[in-house]
Structure formats: C-alpha cells, structure tokens
C-alpha cells in the first residue's frame, strides 16, 4: 500500500478510468496543458490528448452544460470546476439539466457525469474564494454528493462516481490536496453511499466530513488523553444521501452528539443530521446535539477575523466538554 498525496489519488483514478474506457473524458479550466490547478489531472493531456482532456474557456455554465449534454450520449465526463465559488455559474445546468433529466424524461435519458470542485476556506482568500457550498448541493433530487477526507476516499469515490449512472458532485477541499495517506495498490471502489467510523468510541459521537473529519479526529485524541472521554468519529463522506442507518447506529451507542462542519450553520449538514436523529432515534439522546460551524459572515480577509470565523478541533473539544458539563 502506497502513501500518496490526495491530488495523486485523484490523478490516479482519472488515469485508470481513462485508460480503461475511451468514453471517459475530463474537462475544466487549466486542467490540460497547465496540468491542473491542484495537479489532479497532471500528465493526462500528454497521455490522452486534447479531445479527451479539454482545457475549457472560463465559461462554467457553458462547459458544464456541454459535459452534461455529452453524457446523454454515454460519454462520462469528469468536469472540474476550479473553485466551488464558481460553481454558482454552473448550477443551472447541474440542477436543471443533469439532476432532473432522468426524471423528466421518464427514465429515457441519464447524465452519468462527475462534477469535482474545490471548496473551503484556504488562507485569506477572502469572501469570494472561501465558500463551503455543500449545503447547496445536498438538497437536490437526482444529484449525489460525496466529499473525501483522505486520499483513499478521494481515489475510491472518484472511481465509483465515474462508473455510476447518476450525476455525482465531489466536494474537495483546497487545503487537503497535499495531504498524504494510504491508498491500496489494487483497484478500489468506495461506495457512494454510507459513512465510515474513523475512530470507535463510546461516550459521544463526533460527526464530521472532509476537513471537519480531521478536526473531530484531533479532538477525539485530546478528549481521550486529557479528559478521559471516549469519542466516536463518524465520517459522513456521503452528504447526499446521508447515511441514516449509520447515524442512528452511532447515536444509539453513545447517546451524545456533536456535528462539526466548516460551512455556516443555517440549512446545513448539522441541521440535517439533527433532523435525521429526531426522526430515527430521538429517545436515544441523553443531551441536545451541538453544532460546531462557521460564523454567518462573508469570509473576512484579515487573518485574525478569518480564524475567528472558521472553527477547528478546539471548538469541537469545547463543544464536547460543554456537553459533559465540564466547561
């Protein structure tokens, strides 16, 4: 098993699938000759040529729609949107065309395409380059949403997303492309549905995904060492659909819940998880669930303000301590 960086894992998934199936193509801004903003498509242009590795104009609505149209005829495009902040311009096509086509055609057409996009607050990128937008994609019928927290997931989720006949949005994080992790040498497919217990525990469940899964893991470590609290970390790598059974199972075991997300709170992953708990296992709760999330502000540029707006593992620890009456 090799230790590789997350961008390398994504690149490997592209490469394997493009080598296997000539109908798999990729497209996006700067992905070809330039090798990709985050190197996720490095070397593919040289290997597969401009017809299958398409450097697109800066026309998010246009090239996303173009990829979707091609997918109606069986092409499997992997459409990279440079930053999730730019995905607003492509949402009409993603939602109105890709997500609805199977339904409104009575099952005649499908849009087997993959949208990949980098989101999240990096370092002082300001209001228009720091958005987390998973909440926007999660509520759309006909669209699957997954979000990797490590290279193994990034590789396996992309592999499955390319093969799946439904449109899949993959939410990546700008700060995580250089993160290292083990990826199996053998071909591997990560299920597009479900969740993963990243750390087993008994006293409290910490729900996280993508970058917040790492805050949860770090917080669990601290809680264990310094406070003798055993935290279970559940990685919600599938945001749509959310894993109702997995959520229920963990809550029924620990009876306490903290949900960590980099997104703002309203209409977000946290609210959705709490709603699921209410519906599935409300009486298992020993305390009201707590959300850890960003402030509801356009992301500030100033370093101190930015830090104040975005939570981290310390906020998760604080939330747990409060839950146990220790803060």
């Amino acid at each position: 098993m090799a230790q590789i960086m997350l961008w390398e894992a994504i690149q490997r998934a592209h490469d394997e699938e493009m080598a296997r199936d000539p109908l798999v193509i990729c497209m996006g801004e700067d992905i070809g000759v330039a090798g990709g903003t985050y190197k996720a498509t490095k070397g593919l242009y040289e290997k597969y040529g401009p017809l299958r590795v398409m450097d697109t104009p800066i026309s998010e609505g246009g090239f996303t729609g173009l990829g979707i149209g091609a997918s109606f005829l069986g092409i499997r495009p992997i459409i990279e949107i440079m930053s999730v902040n730019f995905a607003w311009l492509a949402m009409d096509q993603m939602f109105n065309s890709a997500a609805k086509i199977r339904y409104m055609s009575g099952g005649q057409l499908q849009a087997p395409c993959v949208f990949r996009s980098a989101g999240g607050a990096a370092h002082q990128l300001g209001a228009q380059h720091s958005a987390r937008m998973e909440k926007v994609f999660m509520g759309i019928a006909g669209l699957r949403v997954v979000t990797p927290s490590n290279p193994k997931q990034a590789y396996g989720l992309l592999k499955s997303a390319i093969r799946c006949d439904d449109p899949v949005f993959i939410n990546e994080h700008e700060l995580m492309y250089n993160m290292k992790g083990e990826v199996p040498d053998a071909e591997y497919f990560m299920p597009l549905e479900g969740s993963e217990i990243a750390r087993s525990g008994t006293d409290v469940t910490l729900f996280g995904y993508n970058i917040s899964a790492h805050w949860c893991l770090k917080a669990a470590e601290i809680l264990d060492k310094q406070y003798n609290i055993s935290a279970e970390v559940v990685d919600l790598y599938s945001l749509s659909p959310l894993d109702r059974a997995g959520i229920k199972q963990s809550v029924s075991k620990t009876h306490r819940v903290v949900i960590a997300e980099e997104d703002e709170a309203p209409v977000g992953v946290g609210s959705e998880v709490i709603a699921i708990i209410n519906e599935e296992c409300f009486f298992e709760l020993d305390a009201a669930p707590v959300r850890v999330h960003s402030a509801l502000v356009p992301q500030p540029y100033n370093h101190t303000l930015e830090k104040a707006a975005i939570p981290d593992h310390e906020d998760v620890v604080k939330a747990v301590l409060k839950l146990f009456g220790k803060a």
């Binding site: 697109t56 246009g62 173009l66 057409l109 499955s160």
Partner: protein, 333 residues
C-alpha cells in the same frame, strides 16, 4: 423539394397545426395542465430544417415549444398527447409535461424549460458525436430571445473552438413572451451576432418551407461535412400567444393579420394548387382526415390511457438501484 415530398410535408404540417389547435381546446377543457406553448405559424421552420436533415438519425434538442419538433423526429402523436394529459403512456411517462417531451429512440433529446439551457447541451451532444465518430449532427432549435443568455455566447465560442457538428436554428418570431425583439435586443438580425465567433450563418424567410429547406440544406451539409457549427436564422411569427395566459396586448391585430397572410401552410398549399398538384377540395379532405385521426386515435389514446401509479412517484430520480450496487454499496470487482 420534390413534389411528393412537398405533398407529404403539407400533410404533416396540417397534422402539426391541428394537433396544436386541439391542445388549445384540451387546455381550455382542463385536460392539459401547466404551461402550454403552441407552434402555429412557425411550422415551416421545423419542417424545412428537418426535411434537409435526417429525422431519427440526427439529434434534436429544443425549448419548451416542443411538441412539433418531437413529432417531426418520429414521435407518435398519441404519446405526445398522452404526455400532455400526464399519462403513463406519454412520451416521458407523464413525468415531463408539455415542456419536457423526450423521445430518445428517435433521438429527440428533449424540450427544456430554461430559456437558453439547451445551447450547451446541444454542443455536448455534438462533442459526443465527435468523440464517437458518427455522421450525425446535433440540431438545436431555440427562439430569438434565448440569444440574450450568457450560455448562448459561451456555447458559440466552444462550438467554434472545437469545431463541433452542431446546427443552431434560431426561430426568430420577434418576441420573447411580451417583449418585442427591438425592445430586448440591440441587434434584431440574430445571425449578425455569431460573426464574432467565426461561425458561418445565414438568415431567411421562415414562412416559406422551400426557402427554409434550401437554406437548411446548405447549413446541414456544412455541419455534416465537418466544417464546424452553423447558425441558421429563420424569420417567423407565432400566431397564438406565448403560452395560454397571454392576451397579446404587446402587439397589434394588424401585425398579426399581416403575418397570417403569410401562413406557412397556405403558402405551400397554394403553390401546390397553382401547380395543379392538388385542389382545394383535396386540402380540405386532408384537414378532415387529420381532425378525424386526432380525435379518434390521438385524443382517444390520451383519454383512455392510465395515470402513473403513485407508488412509482420516486421512480426515475436515480438509476435503478440493483444495476448500481457495486458503486453504491461497494463490493465492486
């Protein structure tokens, strides 16, 4: 056009006209719900272009004014009407409605309700054709007002850049709902707008099917022979309101009358009568037969077809689960 083709197409256009007029009536009777956009006045556009293309072989995509385009591609009028009635036997199994007729078997890639939405989809279909190496072309029929969407320009740029086999047909009926083209668009003649993208274009009368056909032939040949995209602008007029709730206060009755004197059906009919290829009585017989067919078969089929089952409400949101299991729940390979 050959004389036999002209006669056949006239018969088809009568069907298209009477089908739409019958939809109007069914809407008033509340058999059809939602938005309903009718095509009378513009028949020579779709028919002229598709006579020059290969229906059922070439891929066609359009907006919400889509019934006639589907039928011309080979859809059974019964299934189109059943769709308008929301029935399980409809083109889209009652899930789509008037604005979302689909017929994948006949390569009618659908009607879409977001103005301009089909532009990039058409280019994508052309991209797929290019990758697969077929001799099909993609044909995108949209209105004049759709050209004011950003994706129009984005798509033209990409289509030219990548030399995609796509024909854009602009049915310029001078209005986007109630706003005349002069009041919405700085350039009335739409073909001028594509020159900036190095795309070949032409404009012609959209009421005379023979004129449309001749221009469309050149356009289709251009695209099919690998010379890249083409933009064909057809000057036309819709006789009815934009949709059913339209009192046409934005245009004069005189203007409507002028265009009705250039009715695409009558232009072709009168030409055939003048050439002694048919008589007025023949034409009236076609109308009668068509009405009888619509009533006895099309409407009857729609009326008698079953509704979709409520148990199937969530069918078609995602691909069939069984077939996707390896990717959804793991255990692949």
């Amino acid at each position: 056009m050959k004389i036999e083709d002209k006669k056949r197409v006239l018969r088809e256009m009568v069907l298209h006209r009477r089908f739409e007029e019958r939809c109007y009536q069914a809407y008033i009777e509340r058999k059809i719900g939602g938005f309903l956009h009718l095509y009378p006045g513009q028949e020579a556009c779709c028919n002229g272009v598709m006579e020059a293309a290969r229906p059922g072989h070439d891929y066609v995509i359009t907006g919400y004014r889509d019934h006639v385009h589907a039928i011309k591609c080979g859809s059974d009028p019964k299934e189109v009407m059943a769709e308008l009635y929301g029935k399980e036997t409809g083109s889209s199994k009652g899930r789509g409605g008037s604005m979302h007729i689909f017929d994948a078997a006949n390569r009618f890639m659908g009607g879409y309700a977001l103005v301009g939405g089909p532009f990039p989809l058409a280019a994508g279909i052309a991209k797929a054709i290019q990758l697969k190496g077929g001799d099909e072309i993609a044909i995108c029929f949209l209105g004049d007002a759709a050209n004011n969407q950003g994706v129009f320009h984005e798509t033209l740029n990409m289509a030219a850049l990548w030399n995609l086999p796509v024909l854009f047909v602009c049915e310029n009926n001078r209005y986007g709902i109630g706003t005349s083209i002069e009041r919405s668009t700085a350039v009335v003649h739409q073909h001028k707008r594509v020159a900036a993208y190095n795309i070949e274009a032409s404009e012609c009368d959209g009421q005379d099917i023979e004129v449309v056909y001749e221009h469309a032939r050149q356009a289709v040949d251009h695209v099919r022979s690998g010379k890249g995209p083409f933009f064909l602008e057809l000057m036309t007029y819709r006789y009815r309101g934009h949709s059913m709730s339209d009192s046409r206060g934005y245009r004069t009755r005189e203007e409507e009358e002028l265009w009705k004197q250039r009715d695409p059906l009558f232009i072709l009919r009168d030409r055939l009568i003048e050439a002694k290829e048919m008589t007025m009585a023949d034409y009236e017989a076609i109308e009668k037969e068509t009405d009888a067919y619509i009533e006895n078969e099309v409407i009857k089929f729609a009326e008698e077809s079953p509704e979709p089952r409520v148990e199937d409400l969530e069918k078609y949101v995602f691909a069939d689960r069984e077939s996707q299991k390896p990717w959804l729940t793991g255990n692949a390979a």
